[in-house]
């Protein structure tokens, strides 16, 4: 199977197709892996993330749009304006499959258009359209305008990827949106798309990726086994019933639910914003991405009151936490509304809520005289009547608009927590790794997450290794989240490598609760014709991808910063079962062992590691 890569040059308004064969695809698969490889080769060192030299890779993988193995996904890769290193983000919905149906396995956006455009890809044909009228519009209205133009209003036919006003205004925390409510959220990549003048991509066509499978019948036999395994697993059933928000109570109970901008580990009103509460109140339906048998998405509606919100998807656990727990906002209806607005404006809901929480802490400190005087004065003035104090849902909602259009204090929120806190003279208020705001698990209470966050190649992220699964949920086996245990280092590395494959092939990460690498061997053999494919090769591929991502950071000069924010390293949690804990011991003990098993030294791959992984072409980066 050849990987059909559409290259769109926005400077010249032209396009061409590259066909990638096994020499590249067997090493990098597709999605995240292929994106990392191409980015390292093609994006020059020191590139301005908003400059024409940056490129955006919007890629599917060989399983996307084939069988119901949660394969309705795509991946976006580019140099991130938030972190300055390689950024990548994954999304579900329908866009990934429809891009393949439209004729291509991936799209690269290159150069820069003078005027805003939207691009249609229909049965292989690429057209550029004037998007001036769409510029400034929210994601939902943009989708409507495009569907009006193409004349297809049935939302199950064709799919749209777009960016919102947040990206147009170059917010560093803007999310790539598709199918209205799905987001490739992290790393601010939507703003890179907007910086190229692209507002949206429409994908539609009749290509059938299943007809290109090496052994179609064998593939569907293999898929059936995997589908059964996923469908019958208790975690899949729980995800269907309560969605990811079921974690609110669980993580809070374990004292690892970052509250008051990471100044506490428990929120006494957690139940009010939990998945159980959502199911009893605003939940109207459950939904899935293309080809999903789990259906973890929520469809919610707030029918009355100050936070009235139309029927829309979400909110997820991460969104609820970032905009609820860490900001101490306990009105669930407000979080449903905020989620809807963040999607429409095109924000990464994790980074946005975390930045608002940092603002709330800064504001509180400004009022108490704990910021430099001039900065405190400026902050209070810019905040005006917003009153960004912990627990204020109206401030959260108002800030979404203000940040999207960069109005007053919103102009600073749009920059993300790190730049906001640095500007106002109190960098400690930003809880981030490499500039990316951390997600919803306090590593002081789940110590494997300390290693997972610190070594994440895209910055503060829970999806490189989801150590919560073994430290809290007991999958594949249970470890004590408060005890340092070297076996966990091996598991973190294993997950990082396995997940890199999952993001490349691409299937949903929720499959990994019920399936292991061995479950994908039959699928790869029958899809690709790689008769000798093995678990060992799959894991080596994941490891190769992880090293390529790391090399991007090393080349940019970021190779040595595997650490966590000062607050997590030095300030003990004041409450809950993890009271008294910091991440210092875990980081100091885990990192050397992690580097040893990775074949890295001080965060940098050793030359022999590159040899082992077939990455000789990148050895120049180490010299």
């Amino acid at each position: 199977m050849k990987f059909k890569l559409l290259r769109i040059d926005l400077t010249r308004m032209t396009s061409k197709v590259d066909e990638l064969g096994d020499d590249v695809i067997r090493k990098y698969i597709g999605g995240r892996g292929l994106g990392a490889y191409l980015a390292l080769k093609e994006i020059p060192k020191g590139a301005d993330p908003f400059g024409p030299e940056n490129k955006v890779y919007i890629l599917t993988g060989p399983l996307v749009g084939t069988a119901s193995v949660e394969s309705g996904r795509y991946h976006v890769v580019a140099k991130s304006p938030l972190t300055g290193i390689l950024g990548d983000a994954n999304s579900g919905g329908q866009f990934g499959p429809w891009l393949r149906f439209a004729g291509y396995d991936g799209v690269v956006l290159e150069g820069k258009s003078e005027d805003p455009v939207w691009i249609s890809i229909t049965n292989g044909e690429v057209k550029f359209h004037d998007a001036k009228k769409m510029w400034g519009k929210g994601v939902i209205h943009t989708e409507k305008m495009i569907r009006d133009e193409v004349g297809i209003h049935d939302e199950s036919i064709g799919s749209i990827l777009s960016v919102g006003p947040a990206a147009e205004n170059l917010s560093r925390i803007a999310a790539v949106m598709n199918d209205k409510y799905r987001a490739a959220g992290r790393a601010g990549l939507a703003s890179v798309i907007a910086s190229k003048g692209v507002k949206a991509i429409w994908a539609y066509g009749n290509r059938k990726p299943t007809e290109e499978l090496y052994d179609r019948k064998g593939f569907f036999d293999e898929a059936k086994k995997v589908i059964e395994k996923i469908k019958n697993h208790d975690i899949s059933k729980a995800l269907h019933q309560f969605g990811t928000a079921v974690l609110v109570n669980i993580i809070n109970e374990h004292g690892a639910f970052p509250t008051r901008n990471w100044q506490q580990g428990t929120f006494d009103k957690a139940y009010e914003i939990s998945g159980e509460k959502l199911a009893d109140t605003y939940l109207k339906a459950r939904k899935g991405c293309w080809g999903c048998v789990i259906l973890c998405s929520r469809v919610s509606e707030v029918e009355e009151g100050p936070f009235i919100t139309p029927l829309s998807e979400g909110p997820e656990y991460e969104t609820i936490w970032a905009n609820g727990g860490t900001t101490m906002i306990s009105e669930l209806a407000a979080l449903v509304k905020a989620n809807y607005l963040m999607n429409d404006m095109g924000f990464d809901t994790i980074s946005f809520g975390s930045t608002v929480a940092a603002l709330m802490e800064l504001y509180e400190r400004a009022l108490k005289g704990e910021l430099p005087e001039e900065k405190a004065k400026e902050l209070i003035e810019l905040a005006g009547d917003v009153n960004p104090v912990f627990g204020n849902p109206h401030a959260l909602i108002q800030l979404i608009w203000m940040a999207a259009y960069r109005n007053r204090i919103g102009d600073y929120v749009a920059e993300g927590a790190m730049r906001l806190a640095e500007y106002f003279g109190y960098p400690e208020a930003a809880i981030h790794v490499r500039g990316m705001e951390l997600p919803a698990y306090d590593p002081r209470g789940i110590n494997s997450m300390a290693l997972s966050y610190a070594t994440s190649n895209r910055g503060g992220c829970h999806l490189r290794a989801y150590a919560v699964s073994f430290d809290v949920l007991g999958v594949p086996k249970k470890f004590d989240p408060l005890v340092v245990d070297y076996e966990k280092v091996e598991l973190v590395k294993m997950q990082q490598d396995y997940f890199a494959f999952i993001d490349s092939v691409i299937v949903c990460k929720f499959n990994t609760f019920s399936t292991g690498p061995e479950d994908y061997i039959g699928l790869m053999k029958t899809a690709m014709g790689w008769e000798d494919y093995s678990v060992e090769e799959l894991m080596t591929t994941g490891e190769r991808i992880y090293n390529v991502e790391r090399l991007f950071a090393v080349r940019e000069g970021h190779g040595y910063q595997d650490t966590l924010p000062k607050r997590l390293m030095e300030t003990p949690l004041p409450d809950g079962p993890a009271k008294g804990k910091t991440t210092k011991e875990a980081i100091e003990k885990y990192l050397p062992e992690y580097y040893r098993i990775r074949g890295w030294s001080d965060g940098k791959p050793l030359p022999e590691t590159l040899d082992k992984l077939g990455l000789q072409e990148f050895k120049y980066i180490l010299s």
Binding site: I235, Q241, V246, N249, H254, G255, Y271, E276, K478
Partner: protein, 92 residues
Amino acid sequence: MYIKVRYFGLVYSVTGIYEEEILIEDGYTISRLIKDIVDRFEDLSRLLFLEDGSLNPLYRITVNGRDIEHLDGLETRLSGGDVVALIGPAGG
């Protein structure tokens, strides 16, 4: 003396209550608590126990936020004011 018991996720789907207080006596253990709860919510036994009678490892039990696997397991003793959580499978 009283303890608090919380029910999360699929466990909550069966109990229909999020939290309750239960009167206990000296020497009361998790194993006894589970027996008492399953007596009231019979459907829970199908969820909590595997066919061989062992606890389904995807269902977790905590006392004051600590998983009983890191305490004394089912023999973990409870005292007044303790908070127990019966946690259904989850992912995110």
